[in-house]
């Protein structure tokens, strides 16, 4: 069987599991709820644009800021979904059984990433269209096409980030690690509120995360319908960096797991 066949069977199994567990629906509801909430906050704060600019030192509008929120939400969903996936596999003993198959575990993880990425793009489209339409009419909706393109590429480093978190969760063996990372991402990525409110060192460190680059590229695409190379290229660089880093780390951690023989995460 070709690698494509193996890839597809993982995608199919993932979709069936997500659908039957009700997680697909839950993800849609959560994304719609939070997207709506942040849009509402954006609309309310809009009346106080000057005050917002004064506090944050941020020159763009609040709604522009809020356009990056889906990136944060998708990232949080990914970190949680991929982490839970690896933990669940470990808990059910499936991770070990998958490890005994003559297939590269990276293919399985990659197929899982494709499933999550496709679902995320679909959700982004469904959840964002109404808000974009309300804000700017059909003209603004047309901007979603470049935004989707940017997001499709941007979701890759976000997934790699989530995969890294999942792999590290296996190593540190506590589920609480996922919560810690989620809280950190929420706080220091400049998506929920501008990075400009933080000291310069935090701003610089946050650039190592994929989120600010992806969010900014998506904002530009949604608002102006453009793919800005000045933003898009750093995102690709971060993507490449994460790809190399996660591949090296994965190999090392896989070997560490094989040396230590622990594939299960402590969840209590």
């Amino acid at each position: 069987m070709s690698s494509i066949g193996k890839f597809l069977v993982v995608v199919e199994s993932d979709l069936k599991e997500l659908w039957r567990s009700g997680e697909l629906l839950l993800m849609a509801v959560l994304l719609a709820f939070f997207q709506g909430l942040f849009f509402l906050i954006g609309a309310l704060v809009r009346r106080e644009e000057e005050l917002f600019a004064k506090i944050s030192g941020y020159s763009d509008s609040v709604l522009y800021q809020m356009a990056g929120v889906p990136v944060l939400l998708l990232s949080l969903v990914m970190v949680s979904a991929v982490g839970e996936y690896v933990i669940e596999l470990g808990r059910r003993g499936a991770l070990e059984h998958v490890q005994t198959l003559p297939v590269d575990a990276k293919l399985v993880l990659g197929a899982h990433s494709a499933t999550i990425t496709l679902i995320s793009l679909l959700y982004y489209l469904v959840v964002t269209v109404p808000f974009v339409y309300v804000r700017g009419g059909l003209q603004a909706v047309s901007h979603l096409l470049p935004a989707l393109l940017v997001l499709a590429v941007g979701l890759v480093p976000l997934f790699l980030f989530a995969a890294l978190v999942a792999i590290l969760t296996l190593l540190v063996r506590t589920e609480a690690f996922i919560e810690l990372v989620s809280a950190t991402v929420y706080t220091f990525t400049g998506i929920a509120y501008p990075l400009t409110v933080f000291p310069q060192i935090v701003v610089a460190l946050a650039q190592l995360l994929p989120h600010p680059h992806v969010a900014e590229s998506v904002r530009l695409a949604v608002f102006y319908g453009i793919i800005e190379p000045a933003r898009f290229i750093p995102m690709l660089v971060v993507l490449a960096g994460y790809a190399v880093f996660s591949t090296v780390l994965y190999s090392r951690i896989e070997r560490a797991l094989r040396r230590g023989g622990r594939y299960e995460v402590v969840t209590e």
């Binding site: 193996k6 069977v9 069936k16 599991e17 003993g93 499936a94 023989g261």
Partner: protein, 318 residues
């Protein structure tokens, strides 16, 4: 001919760390060597912590040994991982390894395709296996609704989906009720008759004796006995007890074996003779000797040494 499974001086120590500090080390395998011929069913036996699961995990490519080598069908488990994985079917826990929300059929297709079968091959093989293992009616139900016994049978179907030459099964009846455990044992005996090499771990001695062509007894990370159940019993100097109900005076009787005189349940004189050789050959010799000494033998029974006795000696002796 290349042995199906070969282990030579396998060593493994687990190091438990808290951050960078070593909390404790556990020597799981001191030095384990054995060889299993093709087509044999071998039981790896030992008390808890003997190193059975560690050995199985090394052979399954899940764990790296610290020292020594292991080969499955001629492939090194450390350097030729992919080749080893192609020829083995692994069950680490009869209840684990399934995707609960997928059906039995979908689970088998998933594993079959990842083992390199085409989708149609995987499907037709899965359908046949599910029928063969009595899961035909449940094949389209999510696995999370299966009983423990059904999950165990599905686990056997899973390890057979790609028709492997070598099966590695870690405690395949653990946690099962007696009926399900018997079902699984019957299926395992069927696998032996198909000519596959099967390595099974258990600490159920009765099960070990029933299933195995030969045994490997592990204790404290070392092989302490090896061979067929009979050979293992003999290796530990265990004796058969020949019990003879006799009439006549046997008090001063001297035979060439260790004897003991008592009273049987029926109130007759009971002569108990301990022998270490094959009773089929020795009992006629004992009878003729007693006859020549004027002792009339009323009944004869032979009590075999149990594997449990051999196991206890092996473990305590090491």
């Amino acid at each position: 001919m290349v042995a199906a499974i070969e282990a030579e001086d396998l060593q493994k120590t687990y190091v438990e760390r808290r951050l960078w500090r070593v909390r404790r080390t556990v020597r799981a395998l001191e030095s384990v060597s054995f060889s299993i011929e093709r087509g044999r069913m071998v039981v790896l036996l030992g008390p808890n912590g003997a190193g059975k699961t560690t050995t199985v995990r090394i052979l399954s490519t899940l764990l790296l040994p610290d020292g020594g080598t292991a080969r499955v069908m001629g492939h090194d488990v450390v350097r030729e991982t992919k080749e080893v994985r192609k020829v083995i079917g692994v069950m680490l826990d009869p209840e684990k390894g399934h995707f609960g929300r997928l059906t039995g059929l979908e689970n088998l297709i998933f594993y079959g395709v990842l083992h390199g079968l085409t989708r149609s091959e995987a499907r037709s093989r899965a359908v046949r296996l599910l029928e063969e293992f009595g899961l035909g009616e449940a094949r389209d139900r999510p696995v999370e609704g299966y009983s423990k016994g059904m999950k165990a049978r599905l686990a056997i179907c899973r390890v057979l989906i790609h028709d492997p030459e070598v099966l590695i099964l870690d405690e395949p009846t653990a946690g099962l009720d007696p009926i399900s455990a018997r079902e699984v044992r019957e299926r395992l005996k069927g696998l032996r008759s198909e000519g596959r090499t099967v390595l099974v771990t258990t600490h159920n001695l009765w099960e070990a004796e029933e299933l195995s062509d030969s045994l490997i007894v592990l204790n404290k990370g070392k092989v302490v006995a090896e061979g067929s159940p009979e050979e293992v019993k003999r290796a530990f100097g265990l004796s058969w007890s020949v019990e003879l109900e006799v009439s006549g005076d046997v008090k001063g009787l001297r035979l060439g074996w260790e004897t003991e005189v008592g009273v049987s349940e029926r109130g007759r004189t009971l002569l108990r003779v301990q022998i270490r050789e094959d009773p089929a050959e020795l009992v006629p010799v004992i009878l003729s000797e007693l006859r020549s000494k004027g002792v009339q033998v009323l009944s004869v029974s032979v009590r075999e040494p149990t594997l449990e006795e051999a196991f206890v000696r092996a473990v305590e002796g090491s």
